[in-house]
Amino acid sequence: MEPTEIQAKLLELLTRIAPDIDPRSVVTDQDFRDQFDFDSMDGLHFAVAVSEAFGIPVADTDYGRLANLRSAVEFVQAGLSRKA
């Protein structure tokens, strides 16, 4: 899966778990916590959505890698390549 495809999917997931975010406004390398006041529940919802949408495991210790869009794309790429 291409990084642009992954990013588009991640933005869709982000909008699903946080419908109050305008996906056009997302800055790729700024943490969601700083950008959108993400709290721990939002972070967990995003981790669940990523795990289910891409079929990859997300460990309790991986949440930091889902902190912003850029690192989330890298995390998903790595997860998908392990799966392949």
Partner: protein, 400 residues
């Protein structure tokens, strides 16, 4: 029996709401807990649930109308033995509806929250971001209806519809644009000013060693898939709820000059809204649910808050509130009581700091709890017992 159906107060910060949609038509039946009308408040859209079984007789207020708390919205037909359909109305200071709402409060039945929101009724449900965009584009609800109502509309859907809509379907911009953030800030300000004016707060703080809870949470979360993981806020909320059930004077409401203890513990949880403001809907029976069940309720509640679509029972039910700042917050949060409740617990950020343990200085994860409680009901000794009980519960997370 024909009774009046009034707009309930859905929190101390609510004085009025705009009726957005009737979910039931005249003649239609409803059951206890079923949403019958949707109102827009400064918190977002709230589905107001029925307090008993019945039938709509006639509708008094049309969609789009702004009404005060306590105003008659409709007439209902209910069984003769049933109490009047008065929701749990906390009187709103300074509101003309105070008399009406408090007059009916005594006979309130506890609102149900078990029913799921009603299925689509022909009106589209917009995400908060999409609603803002629709307003910017001057799109009317009618022109959005053609999109169908099976799912929530997002910004992209609204823009697609705006592009496709013939100009005649485009409504003029609303005559009186209200800044929702300013409205929410005003509502919070009014409620908190009332709390500070009327409630003699006292404050206590306690540093809690969070090591046992943190280790237990890490072990538990490592064993389960991501869908079943827990967060700190759930442990803290459960500990507060259990302590509130065990120590008298912190769980309930202060009304008409006296404290009314509540039998159940419905823990209000403060949830910050993006763009400012916060809401504190309740996790029902928080002391009796196990952690996975409480986590599921909490998760679903946050999702509803984020989607801007909440349920009335969640807003009138809280008997005590917990507010957590999260990982990057300040060390201590001195909260303000949410009337008519009598206590609120603030949890600061959990941080590593030196602490004395077994006569040695050790680096420990510390959680500072701050209690604000009502001096008309309890004093510092009871408050200390309450905080110590929470701290003890957090030392034995297996028992939560």
């Amino acid at each position: 029996m024909r009774i009046e159906y009034r707009l309930p107060s859905l929190g101390a910060d609510m004085e009025s709401a705009t009726l957005t949609e009737w979910l039931k038509k005249p003649g239609e039946r409803f059951t206890h807990g079923e949403p019958i009308v949707t109102v827009e408040t400064t918190k977002g859209l709230i589905d107001v649930e029925a307090y008993e079984d019945g039938q709509i007789d006639d509708l008094v207020v049309a969609p789009g109308t702004k009404v005060a708390v306590g105003a008659v919205l409709a007439h209902l037909i209910v069984a003769d033995s049933a109490p009047p359909a008065a929701p749990e109305a906390s009187a709103t200071a300074g509101s003309s509806a105070t008399a009406a709402s408090s007059a009916t409060a005594a006979s309130s039945a506890s609102p149900a929250v078990t029913a799921p929101p009603s299925p689509a009724t022909g009106h589209p449900r917009l995400s908060p971001a999409a609603r803002r965009r629709a307003e910017e584009l001057g799109l009317s609800a009618a022109s959005l209806e053609q999109a169908g109502s099976a799912s929530i509309l997002h910004v992209a859907d609204v823009e697609r519809l705006a592009a496709a809509a013939p100009s005649s379907a485009t409504a003029p911009p609303p005559p009186e644009p209200i800044d929702p953030r300013a409205a929410m800030r005003g509502a919070i300000g009014a409620a908190m000013a009332r709390a500070k004016r009327e409630i003699p707060h006292y404050y206590l703080g306690l540093d809690v060693d969070y090591g046992a809870a943190r280790d237990w949470l890490a072990r538990t979360n490592a064993r389960v898939p991501v869908q079943e993981r827990l967060i700190d806020a759930v442990l803290i909320t459960k500990a507060v709820a259990l302590a509130a059930a065990r120590i008298d004077g912190f769980n309930g409401a202060f009304r008409d000059g006296r404290f009314e203890p509540a039998r159940a513990v419905h823990a209000g949880v403060a949830i910050a809204l993006r763009g400012g403001g916060l809401v504190a809907p309740a996790l029902l029976d928080a002391d009796r649910k196990d952690l996975p069940a409480l986590m599921r309720d909490f998760s679903a509640l946050v999702m509803r808050v984020r989607a801007g679509r909440m349920r009335s029972g969640e807003f009138s039910a809280a008997t005590i509130t917990v507010t957590s700042l999260g990982a990057d917050g300040a060390d201590v949060l001195y909260p303000i009581i949410n009337p008519p409740q009598v206590a609120i617990v603030g949890a600061g950020a959990i941080r590593e700091q030196p602490a004395v343990r077994d006569g040695q200085i050790a680096i420990r994860p510390i959680l500072t709890l701050a209690l604000a409680a009502d001096h008309r009901v309890t004093d510092g000794r009871a408050g200390s017992r309450f905080l110590r009980a929470i701290a003890d519960l957090l030392q034995r997370p297996d028992g939560l």
